[in-house]
Symmetry: none
Subunit: 184 residues, 4 copies
DNA sequence: AATGAATGAGGGTTCATTCAT
DNA sequence: TATGAATGAACCCTCATTCAT
């Protein structure tokens, strides 16, 4: 339709983005070859060419999501002004994920739903979790990292389900207590 | 074959259980009228009779799940021997959900995936969250309850994704720190 | 389209006939759910209802064909006027199959193509062969029946491939020689 | 991986062989450009280069088959030791085709299925039949050749469908009767 | 109250074929 | 000469849902 283009090197990437958009709106179930093809403005045949199986398509999309999610996570911790209490970074992550990234939270929920039944998606998350903890360990004792990560996970998840807005002070207090006094 | 069961008052309930079984194994997507009818050993026509819409069926099933989940949660806190540190109840919840209830974790993950996009399922969880917090508030200060609940959520979720088993001591330590010294 | 008919008891049979028509014209490969549905004037969904698998459909159709073929075969031998040389019945079978039943020969060829690779179709033919021989054994010695059957098979097959018309005398002569002098 | 074969003069021939292998295993329908390309270890683009149309590919393969089949047929009759009863050659053909050449029988059945509906394949067989008869006429009267050929066809075909092995004596007897006493 | 028959709307996937390189 | 990229058309099959009984 849109000009016969013989080669389109970024097409694969554009499809991946479209997959995530469609999943966010219609769920993983709604991300059909057809719906994604339309969202990406790509012929149907092109879908199966780049992703022979629908599952290939989904896996690629969620891998991309995990990368994006971790980048955001890591950057918040990395770009803390020197001297800042790193616990404040954790609070900021809750805020950031809680606001303005609803789309990605929907996607993460879908990813978890897949992961609990399919090892391929589980590995995706495991790798992502590892990276998160590594990021946290730059600021906190190693044995605390998984706990902080878990609290974060629960807070962000609940914040997206809950009706009432977040009480930041309460979050801050919880993080501070969980982490305890800083070594320095 | 026919076994002619004229009246079968528990049929609705049996179907609901079957729905959850099927979802646990094949995902929400796999819970079709047909697959559930087979799992419940019920004629196909019986499905649409009890649940005119597939969504009615799913909603009923997840409502049942939320009830079950809360009962388990509440009972653990309720049946703590008098004098026990209630923080130990929280730890026990992590342990209980983490072991032997994989099926239900799969279901919870599916429920969250639905909830982030569909308000009807979201309300289900909101109500459930409310009940959880109410249970917690019998033992902990009200402003701590959502934080404990969030930590629990994250811990259980991560424990089901992670490969390595959970370090209970670390969980206990985290809970103790988050809650702080008990008032009594 | 054609009046909403809730029940249509002969529909299955009508579909089977349509399958054979379509195969005759477009080959087994051309007998798709869609093409048959159109030929039988039946909604597409009706096809998979009666024949859950395309293979079920084909198998049913070819079973029907084998029945028809044997009936014709048997009837020719059965309805020979008393006192007729039964060898003339064999000749008449060649003639009958050779003329006016091109459609069925196409079908038989397709059936053989399936049978050499798929045991389910092979059994179909084996059963049919058995019935043919039984019919022949009413007139000829048992050990001759398979030979007569084979000659018939080859003659009919070649007659449908060959350009030049059949030389009946030559066929008659061949049959007579193969069978030899009759016992009576 | 690449193995860069610049010139590969036998590639066309290798493809043709692969086509027959694939047809034998998956039927004509299963002989797609892709499946054959893989079987011949040839890039997909190479297929359409050598055979612009799938039908070109099939026709070439079946032409090759007819050649092979006739060669075998002719050689058996040609290499009979001098003085041998030529009827014994006919018996030996049945035996040869019946044993160890299942693959080719599958292919022949597929060829017939095509031939009854497509004149191009019919011509292929007609030419082959002509050659067979010519071979037979070197040993038998011309008017008997088509009859012998037909009996052969039927015997071989039935032997591949039947469960029970062939009774050679009976075949020999049938051939002898059909042919009658030799002129010499 | 309960159920089998029936169907239309897709959905995943395959594939012959075209074309630029 | 030779091949990878790309695509549109089907195809088989699944399923939610409707409806007559």
């Amino acid at each position: 339709m849109t000009r016969t283009r013989r080669t389109d090197p970024e097409r694969r990437e554009r499809i991946v983005e479209a997959v995530l958009d469609v999943i966010a709106e219609h769920g993983t179930q709604g991300a059909t070859y057809r719906s994604v093809a339309q969202a990406a403005d790509v012929p149907l045949g092109s879908m199966t060419y780049h992703f022979p199986t629908r599952d290939d398509m989904l896996l690629a999309a969620f891998a991309h999501l995990a990368d994006t999610m971790h980048s955001r996570f890591d950057q918040i911790l990395t770009t803390l002004p020197p001297g800042t209490d790193p616990r404040e970074g954790v609070v900021r992550i809750v805020v950031t994920q809680g606001d303005g990234h609803e789309r990605d939270m929907v996607l993460v929920a879908e990813l978890y739903a897949l992961a609990v039944r399919d090892p391929r998606y589980r590995e995706l998350i495991q790798h992502w979790m590892l990276r998160s903890r590594t990021s946290l360990e730059r600021h906190f004792p190693a044995e605390l990292a998984p706990m902080i990560d878990a609290l974060l996970e629960g807070l962000v998840l609940h914040s997206h389900i809950s009706t009432e807005p977040f009480d930041l002070d309460r979050v801050r207090q919880a993080v501070h207590r969980l982490v305890g006094p800083l070594p320095s």
